[in-house]
């Protein structure tokens, strides 16, 4: 009874008793959820247009952030370093397409997946060689990101929103809207979606596979840079950031590998639920640190009922 009470009743009583704390928890969950969604977006874009499960998205986040900080440390003004790091991401996209993807066109999915793990290892070694392995501070202030706090007092309580988190949420929202507009309204965007729908049909109407692949990897690079800035402002820039890439995987499972909406909603859901679970169930009952696995187990249960994720394309198999 004691255990049942602890699992089923007490957490909810706690939530109602301290609504301001609950809101704080939800806000934290929302912010991390947005960042998971951003990384998942990078995955989805590449998966849709090329069926490549891009494991390197996480290290691209680190690499973009390190390049940004690295340029600034050389004395380049903050905004110019942003442009320079975008250039780095473009060069990266072109070279990945040239060196890795082009020779591997048409190989089984798992081979391409392994190749992206190879890219990950290469970038880890390369990044540590150039930028060093130590933790760096993101150039938050130089980029004009506010660092103050908003303090609210709902229900006579206390709620603290860091301004850089608010900025991250706003920027992420703008980025998502821009991306959706780009994919739906522009010629290039339509070409990307066409390639995702049917490779051969897209090729036959004259869409260039190589251009689109470079473009898609470059967009993933832009997303990586934004994620890197937002996450780096919270936790500093280091190779430990790479592990958040793993967090994007359950988001993909939950939302479906092909769906942009799924990535966003899945990201928010996982961000919120894992924070709630950690605070109200994980820490008091399981000894904490449940955030490492909760999202995966949750996604696993959802998949048992919907094998293609919540928003994924229905899997149709023909013999």
């Amino acid at each position: 009874m004691e255990l049942l009470n602890n699992i089923l009743v007490k957490p909810f009583v706690d939530m109602v008793e301290a609504p301001d704390f609950l809101m704080q928890v939800l806000w934290e969950g929302l912010v991390s959820g947005i960042l998971y969604a951003l990384i998942a977006l990078g995955f989805v874009l590449i998966f849709r247009s090329s069926r490549i499960f891009n494991f390197a998205q996480g290290i691209m986040v680190v690499f973009a952030a390190l390049a940004l900080v690295g340029f600034h440390q050389l004395g380049v003004p903050a905004w110019i370093s942003v442009i320079l790091s975008l250039g780095v991401m473009f060069v990266l996209a072109v070279s990945i397409e040239r060196v890795v993807l082009r020779p591997l066109v048409g190989q089984p999915d798992i081979i391409l997946f392994m190749a992206t793990i190879g890219i990950t290892l290469f970038l880890i070694g390369f990044g540590e060689l150039i930028f060093g392995g130590e933790n760096k501070v993101m150039i938050t202030e130089e980029l004009g990101i506010p660092t103050g706090e908003f303090i609210f007092e709902p229900f006579g309580g206390f709620l603290l929103l860091e301004q850089k988190d608010v900025t991250a949420v706003v920027v992420a929202a703008v980025l998502v809207v821009a991306l959706l507009l780009f994919l739906n309204k522009t010629r290039m965007g339509r070409a990307i979606r066409a390639l995702g729908d049917d490779h051969q049909a897209a090729l036959s109407v004259g869409i260039s596979l190589q251009t689109i692949w470079v473009l898609v990897w470059f967009i993933a690079g832009i997303i990586a840079l934004v994620t890197g800035i937002a996450w780096g402002a919270r936790a500093g820039v280091s190779f430990a950031l790479e592990v958040i890439a793993y967090k994007a995987l359950p988001v993909l499972m939950l939302g479906g590998l092909e769906s942009i909406t799924g990535a966003i909603i899945g990201g928010l859901m996982i961000g919120l639920l894992e924070k709630l679970f950690e605070i109200y169930w994980g820490q008091p009952l399981l000894g904490g640190n449940t955030e490492t696995w909760f999202a995966f187990v949750l996604a696993l249960f959802v998949l048992l009922f919907r094998p293609q994720g919540l928003f994924g394309e229905r899997i149709i198999e023909r013999v």
């Binding site: 390369f126 590998l257 013999v319």
Partner: protein, 358 residues
């Protein structure tokens, strides 16, 4: 010339399907076995045992376990390291609860625990396929590693949270623990790995192996010709996890000597996957070739700068190492996506008709 098959006639189906249809294969294997059992142990140094021979054997075994699941039954798994951990922790509990137990028996028994856990995490594979399943196995990876850390009973409430291998005797000889001799450990590992390899070769050639291959190639078609998918997938999970569990126990008891939870973290899983893929999915030989490459390469790269007297710091060497391993993975995938085993098969075919290819 060396591989000429002329004169070796097969008069029955059994002879054609024999383990060594070509006599030279058997001779080559005999030479390799002689090397592994007699010549290498006599000539190898302590350094070679610890950095090359023992790890190569253990990694080959783990990769073989993964290969059964991914290469033969077609179920991609990213949770290998966690199943190794289950084997290692199970073995630790077995030898600390029952210290009189023969360590080899304990190692072989610990595989059953990881087989059980493997079947449990294999159940979703009945509904989930492809990359979705791969991510689902990550649930096992992260959950189990968390459990190793939080469940203090597993490491006997040690203050350090790590498991230490005690001294274990078998027939009066210390085979595991701080005072064990490398050569003894090598022989124990070699014996278990040889046994398991024989088991795997025959399993994959038999009914079970063919059911797995049918499931891998197209599961709906396999179901239509009367294969029970549930049985086929779950046996693959069970046998693969058993082998991985045993190799995990060997990994800690015969090589590392101690383990903490994060040893079984995701980089280890990827390492095993690299070995299996670079060696060749759906091949037994490939696991050995892959392990030799992945284990041997960093050792060679580490010693290169010293031999040439280049003034490079060890941290730089470490980073260069990761870079080179990453690029080599891509390189090998590009030149032969089917792995080193396929490369060997091509060479062997060429040798058979050499020097007159027409």
């Amino acid at each position: 010339m060396l591989y000429r098959t002329s004169g070796q006639f097969k008069t029955s189906y059994t002879a054609d399907m024999a383990l060594f249809p070509v006599r030279q294969d058997a001779i080559l294997l005999a030479i390799i076995l002689a090397f592994a059992w007699v010549i290498l142990p006599l000539t190898a140094s302590e350094f070679a045992f610890q950095t090359l021979l023992i790890p190569i054997l253990i990694y080959s075994l783990t990769a073989m376990g993964l290969n059964i699941l991914t290469g033969y039954a077609g179920q991609l798994s990213l949770g290998t390291a966690a199943f190794m951990g289950v084997g290692a922790y199970a073995c630790y509990k077995l030898v600390t609860i029952m210290p009189w137990m023969n360590p080899v028996v304990a190692i072989l028994m610990s595989g059953f625990f990881s087989a059980g856990v493997g079947v449990m995490f294999g159940i979703p594979s009945l509904r989930i396929k492809g990359f979705y399943l791969a991510i689902a196995t990550l649930a096992a990876q992260f959950f189990l590693v968390w459990l190793f850390e939080k469940w203090a009973w597993l490491y006997n409430y040690n203050a350090s949270g790590a498991i230490q291998v005690p001294n274990l005797d078998m027939f009066g000889v210390t085979v595991a623990g701080p005072t064990a001799d490398s050569m003894t450990q090598y022989y124990v590992v070699l014996a278990i790995v040889s046994l398991m390899t024989m088991l795997c070769i025959n399993l994959t050639r038999g009914t079970l192996g063919r059911t797995w291959k049918a499931t891998r190639d197209m599961d709906i078609a396999a179901e239509l010709i009367g294969i029970n998918l549930m049985k086929s997938k779950l046996t693959a999970f069970a046998i693969s996890s058993y082998i991985i569990g045993v190799s995990g126990a060997l990994f800690v008891f015969m090589w590392r000597g101690a383990a903490e939870p994060n040893l079984f973290d995701i980089p280890l899983s990827f390492r095993i996957l690299f070995i299996a893929i670079i060696g060749g999915l759906g091949s037994i030989l490939g696991n050995y070739l892959g392990a030799i490459l992945i284990v041997g390469l960093p050792v060679i790269l580490n010693t290169l700068p010293q031999t040439f007297g280049l003034p490079i710091s060890s941290a730089t060497v470490e980073h260069l190492n990761i870079m080179i391993v990453g690029s080599l993975i891509i390189f090998f995938l590009i030149i032969e996506p089917h792995g080193l085993a396929r490369l060997w098969a091509l060479i062997r075919e060429k040798l058979m008709i050499w020097p007159f290819p027409h």
